[in-house]
């Protein structure tokens, strides 16, 4: 497809489990961003990649959160030992150039029971 694709669209898991969320950016976009949006809040920055490397991971809340982008395209956000407070919508976006807009996917809604 032409847009940013995120899978799964919904994920329900139990406290303590491990989850992976996948983002497939728009082809050719070098920058990829992960955001987290809690209910009633604006998106909060987690991490962004320029190519394969994490250019800024200052938004990751703790060491349970990790993201990779091994080939500079698809990215995976990994959350270990999930907690109920991790429940949120996880948004991925990609951008073509420095001043360009961010194109967002539909998000992955994570619910930790």
């Amino acid at each position: 497809g032409a847009g940013v694709s995120q899978t799964p669209s919904n994920k329900v898991t139990e406290k303590g489990k491990y989850v992976e969320l996948r983002c497939d950016p728009i082809s050719g976009h070098t920058a990829l961003y992960w955001y987290r949006q809690s209910l009633g809040q604006g998106p909060e920055f987690l991490i962004y990649f320029q190519g394969t490397g994490a250019a800024d991971d200052s938004g990751l809340p703790n060491d349970r959160f990790f993201a990779v982008r091994p080939e500079g395209s698809v990215s995976t956000l990994k959350i270990q030992r999930t907690e109920r407070g991790d429940s949120a919508m996880y948004l991925c976006a990609s951008s073509e150039r420095e001043a360009g807009e961010l194109f967002f996917g539909e998000g992955s809604r994570l619910t930790v029971l």
Partner: protein, 114 residues
């Protein structure tokens, strides 16, 4: 670091009335400014952006915004709203030095009633 303040969490308005959604930002360097819209259970869609040039920016769906550097504001306006404009609106700022993260405000819910 940059930040964004959206003072109104919710703005109720009648159909065909004008509306203004307020946004103020803070940054020590020059910035790019954006407004995104989020419809229920959907992702974020860009309404408009200010990068440089004319301070009055026109976007999709009849929305416009004006960049005011002295007041550090970027308020969103529409002269006549429709029921279909009911959504969450987010103002966002990004420093204009290379690739930078986009920082969002907390959002304003626009509720349009007949």
């Amino acid at each position: 670091a940059q930040s964004v303040t959206q003072l109104d969490s919710q703005v109720p308005v009648f159909e065909e009335a004008p509306v203004e959604l307020r946004c103020n930002y803070s940054s020590s360097v020059s910035v790019y400014l954006f407004w995104y819209v989020q419809y229920p259970n959907q992702g974020l869609q860009l309404l408009l952006k200010y990068l440089s040039g004319s301070t009055l920016v026109k976007g999709i769906n009849g929305f416009e915004a004006e960049f005011n550097k002295s007041q550090t504001s970027f308020h969103l306006r529409k002269p006549s709203v429709h029921i279909s404009d009911t959504a969450e609106y987010f103002c966002a700022v990004r420093e204009n030095t290379g690739f930078q993260k986009l920082v969002f405000g907390t959002g304003t819910r626009l509720l349009v009633s007949p």
